[in-house]
Symmetry: C2
Subunit: 250 residues, 2 copies
Amino acid sequence: MSDDRPDVAGAGMSRAMRQLWGRREDGRRGPKPAMSVRAIAVEAVALADAEGLDAVTMAALASRLGFTTMSLYRYVESRQDLLEVMVDEAVGPPPTLNRRRGWRGQIEEWAGAEAAQFFAHPWVFAVQTGAPPVGPNLVGWMEAGFAALNRTRLGPQEVASSLLTVDGYVRSNVQLALQFAVPGAAERWATQLRSVLDPDAMPTVRIVLDSGALEDGSVSTEPEESAEFGFGLGLVLDGIERIAARTQRH
Amino acid sequence: MSDDRPDVAGAGMSRAMRQLWGRREDGRRGPKPAMSVRAIAVEAVALADAEGLDAVTMAALASRLGFTTMSLYRYVESRQDLLEVMVDEAVGPPPTLNRRRGWRGQIEEWAGAEAAQFFAHPWVFAVQTGAPPVGPNLVGWMEAGFAALNRTRLGPQEVASSLLTVDGYVRSNVQLALQFAVPGAAERWATQLRSVLDPDAMPTVRIVLDSGALEDGSVSTEPEESAEFGFGLGLVLDGIERIAARTQRH
DNA sequence: AGCACACTGTTTATCTTGTACACAGATCAT
DNA sequence: ATGATCTGTGTACAAGATAAACAGTGTGCT
């Protein structure tokens, strides 16, 4: 199997991933494939958007595409493989950042765009990735983010850490916002807690709860416009800025 | 069913959660339960630690406990319910923060302790929670974190946001570290990318990759001791500190 | 004391899903 | 041409969550 040759492009990836990177396969005998990994991914994403990730069964997806269940396995090694391809498709190509803005503005753009993607495809959070991502789109986002941060004085090490921090911030923020996005979810949660909380044992939670800080409007359902989002991101960027100011390039 | 009375303690939670909060059930007829939610959770956590989350099937868990599969459903409403209970058990009770340290030191403690828990129970990340968490331990961690941040001049709203940011940072950082923790994973990942990357299209990724910033040692496998971890956390705390310095209490 | 009911753990059965395997036809290298 | 290879298909199975009905158990009420 030439697929396993370690020196070939895309070694170690699934066949699907390799196809996403546009790598040609070796032997081109047999009938031409009637589908493509990308087309499958697009349909799968649409299905997940419409009915949730659980609705994306191999059978349902295949049926939507007008093929049999097993035909999918010619393109994707397993459901897990499919999910990873779906994530790459869902995040889409990276944004083209405004060149006239400084690194900080660009990272804000980047973070906002990422948040928007997550809001558009909430099920992405439910996909469990065991290994670091290798999809072309995800790597593209990395490139865009690294490029922006590379305009600071930070060294590669710090650039990587910083982007990771920003990415982590965006993810956790959106994830929480999504949980509160269900109408009434915040109130229901607050009510549950109040009904069970011992005020003496947990005074501060009570205070925050009563302050309404976590009520419906506060953790905004919207992506970038949220004051919440901007506030926390500001924290992170302030930190990066401070480090950048006192760092020598390595 | 008195379980559904909206004014009763723990309304809206699963029976299991209510039991974790120590709420007594109403009718106490019939035979005494042979197990307890907590005992089940402990065994389930042990199983997940040892063999991964997938190994935690209702059948396997029940067998370990010496009962039939279906008996578990007397304690837990569904597998999903079990998973949520497991998470609360896995994070455990919150740390008691050193009272002599300032808010910043305490939050560092808090973050380190949280990271340690995640490292000890990596499968926690694979559990998908649709709603905000309501387990007593998780709320306990909230309390501890809020209490520390409450020593700043920040208002409740900012306190909540700040802790969320810290928590998000810890989670994403540990999650990534775990992915690179598999021996050779970082190298394999770097090799894969290099073999597929077009240097012209993605120059910055190439630079970071070649800098070794993401090689095995860099993203440390260890919790708090990691320079990585401290660096990023420092960013976030710097940000919080700056805001706190210029904020009036609301 | 006795009785009815709430509650326990069990047994049995079902339904959903992912996926291995073998096949028939298509197509290209030689 | 011809055989190796690749495609989509049909069949079959195994794992796993959970619904339903059941028989025993202990409590509270009479």
